[in-house]
């Protein structure tokens, strides 16, 4: 009985997943849950398998064996675009914007799966085609306003500085109004102010839209401040899980980070 009650606030169940790249075990038997409405941080040294974990959730690579369940649906062998349409959005470690497209178009791309108009109504720009374009433009403008990037609306993203690109990418993910937002090092290479900026957006996104967030970040200060729970990976295995307070005092984590051997 208590199992069922527990499951109600679980959004994603990762069940014992293994992923191998030509002999190299990137993930080795990871079990974890992401709870609804939480900010979960995944940390670990380089090469621990954090990005692979995110890739597995949104279908870029498929675990074998293992299973990933999102809201009761099995994601294990789904194509990425299908996963996206279920309400999972993400950002990338190395910014992956569409460089030839404007900021507006990039963020609108986030809503791709939500725009439901057929080929001919789009080609004729008539009926549903027109209605959808205008409706979604309004939704995108809200995100643009929220991120305070109105002035660069029409700029091609390739021409933007790195910090702004990261922001636009976050906007693109938020525009999807995802149930689950996967952020792969959203603050990498940013200045302190920019980091604070992004941290505020992450917290606001959870407050305003109720988005569940799974975050990879190296900056421990930020991780400790924003996250509710932390999962620590090392060499493809989960070595710890708990509240920031618990993780801070976990001996294995301290060893993994400081590299102390044999204590």
């Amino acid at each position: 009985m208590s199992m069922n009650v527990d499951r109600d606030h679980i959004l994603v169940e990762v069940e014992d997943i293994h992923i191998t790249f030509g002999g190299l075990k990137a993930l080795n038997g990871i079990c974890m849950n992401i709870n609804k409405g939480e900010i979960l941080a995944t940390i670990g040294p380089n090469g621990a398998g954090k990005t692979t974990l995110i890739n597995a959730i949104n279908g870029v690579c498929h675990p074998n064996p293992g299973r990933i369940v999102f809201e009761g649906k099995d994601l294990t062998n789904m194509r990425p675009h299908h996963v996206a349409s279920l309400g999972i959005a993400r950002t990338f470690q190395n910014v992956a914007l569409f460089k030839g497209m404007s900021v507006l178009d990039n963020i609108t791309m986030g809503r791709h799966s939500k725009i439901k108009s057929g080929f001919f109504s789009q080609g004729l720009y008539w009926g549903l085609g027109q209605k959808m374009e205008i409706e979604h433009r309004e939704a995108v403008e809200i995100v643009i306003e929220w991120l305070e990037i109105q002035n660069i609306r029409e700029t091609p993203t390739g021409a933007l500085p790195y910090g702004l690109q990261k922001k636009v990418e976050l906007g693109r993910a938020l525009a999807a109004e995802p149930k689950l937002l996967l952020l792969d090092e959203p603050m990498a290479g940013m200045s302190l102010e920019e980091k604070e900026d992004i941290a505020r957006f992450i917290l606001d996104a959870r407050e305003e839209f109720g988005t569940t967030i799974c975050l990879i970040e190296h900056d421990m200060g930020v991780v400790m401040d924003v996250s509710n729970r932390i999962v620590v990976l090392e060499f493809g295995e989960k070595i710890a899980e708990g509240t920031p307070e618990e993780i801070r005092n976990n001996q294995r984590v301290i060893n993994a980070y400081l590299g102390t051997d044999g204590h």
């Binding site: 194509r79 996206a84 030839g100 791709h112 108009s117 080929f119 004729l124 205008i134 999807a176």
Partner: protein, 353 residues
């Protein structure tokens, strides 16, 4: 200040998202349409219509098709001319055998071409880059082979040539250059508006996202399979209609050799010179390439008198090749970008501070 943007206040997103949000552009377009529909048919002579305007419009349409595939979706095709052939031969058969109304024949030519185009586009999902380029070449050779070797396709003609039957719309026959010009013009305008709407909406954004970052676009929710295939079929549809127009409105009698590989390259050249990822660029590129041989001929004659035609051909090849390289290096967005720059200058003119 000839080109004004200020003082135009858009109060709804619908206004901002119109094709021509600025009144000045609307006026410009209006004048262009008046010239195209009234001035040219009333004043132009046979040469201007049949050797310049009609081919210009048809190649613009074909270039637009390739631009959708290459410029917008980032997939290169060297088989575009063959898809034009499919359109031409299908339209011919629909008209000669079934006696369908001419516009339905054009539509059928386009649809057949789209079907075959997406057939050859299917590998695009699995194979990428150079492998895909060779796959499109396979389309070119396969289609050429089928047309020349299956006599049925060309109505049992030995040379694989087709002689288009007379055209008629609502009982009115279309046979003078002016009528053919107007028919071509209407078809091209309708399809151009359709393409413009596609590329500025959801589908166009999905195409461009595949071009710019395929992995990210898949993860965001764009089915690579569906949208690449869509790009191939829309592109081939435009090629097919253009091919049908060449057969019916331009040449009247065509052979497979009209649609050989070289034409695929010329059209790719039009895309590059006109501007990749631009509807306007497709028209500028086609116009440029239609006029280029004529002007080379004139300039050479002015400077050197009468010269043998093979020298002209070689000169043409060199200039064509040189221009492709030039534009790729100096202005990858082609003539369309130059137009934007001119507009930018006019915005400030005559007081550039």
């Amino acid at each position: 200040m000839l080109y004004r943007e200020c003082g135009v206040f858009k109060s709804t997103y619908a206004e901002d998202m119109a094709i021509f949000p600025l009144p000045l552009d609307k006026w410009g377009m209006g004048i262009l349409l008046i010239v195209a529909f009234l001035v040219i048919p009333m004043t132009a002579d046979r040469y201007l219509l049949t050797s310049i305007m009609i081919p210009f419009l048809i190649y613009s349409l074909s270039t637009l098709g390739l631009n959708i595939l290459t410029g917008y979706s980032g997939q290169l095709s060297l088989g575009h001319a063959a898809f034009m052939a499919v359109g031409a031969y299908t339209a011919f058969n629909l008209s000669a055998r079934l006696d369908l109304p001419i516009l339905l024949c054009f539509l059928g030519g386009g649809l057949m071409s789209a079907a075959i185009g997406s057939l050859f586009g299917i590998p695009s999902v699995r194979i990428k880059g150079f492998y895909l380029i060779v796959a499109t070449l396979a389309a070119q050779f396969t289609i050429e082979w089928v047309i020349t070797h299956w006599a049925w396709v060309s109505g049992e003609n030995v040379l694989g040539a087709i002689d288009t039957p007379p055209m008629e719309i609502l009982g009115r026959s279309i046979d003078t250059p002016v009528e053919k010009y107007l028919l071509t013009l209407v078809v091209v305008i309708v399809l151009t508006i359709f393409a413009k709407n596609l590329v500025r909406g959801k589908i166009g954004r999905a195409w461009m996202s595949i071009r710019d970052k395929a992995v990210a676009s898949e993860i965001i929710g764009v089915s690579q399979f569906r949208y690449k295939l869509l790009a191939f079929s829309v592109s081939s549809f435009y090629a097919g209609v253009a091919g049908a127009l060449i057969a019916f409105c331009h040449l009247g009698c065509v052979q497979v050799t009209e649609f050989e590989l070289l034409l695929s390259f010329w059209i790719l050249g039009m895309v590059i010179i006109g501007g990749m990822g631009s509807i306007l660029g497709s028209f500028l590129g086609a116009g440029f390439m239609v006029l280029l041989p004529i002007y080379i001929n004139r300039v050479v004659r002015m400077m050197a008198g009468v010269v043998p035609s093979d020298i002209l051909t070689n000169l043409e090849l060199m200039i064509f090749g040189g221009l492709i390289i030039f534009f790729l290096i100096v202005e990858p967005y082609g003539l369309a970008r130059l137009w934007l720059i001119i507009k930018g200058k006019l915005r400030l003119w005559p007081i550039p501070y």
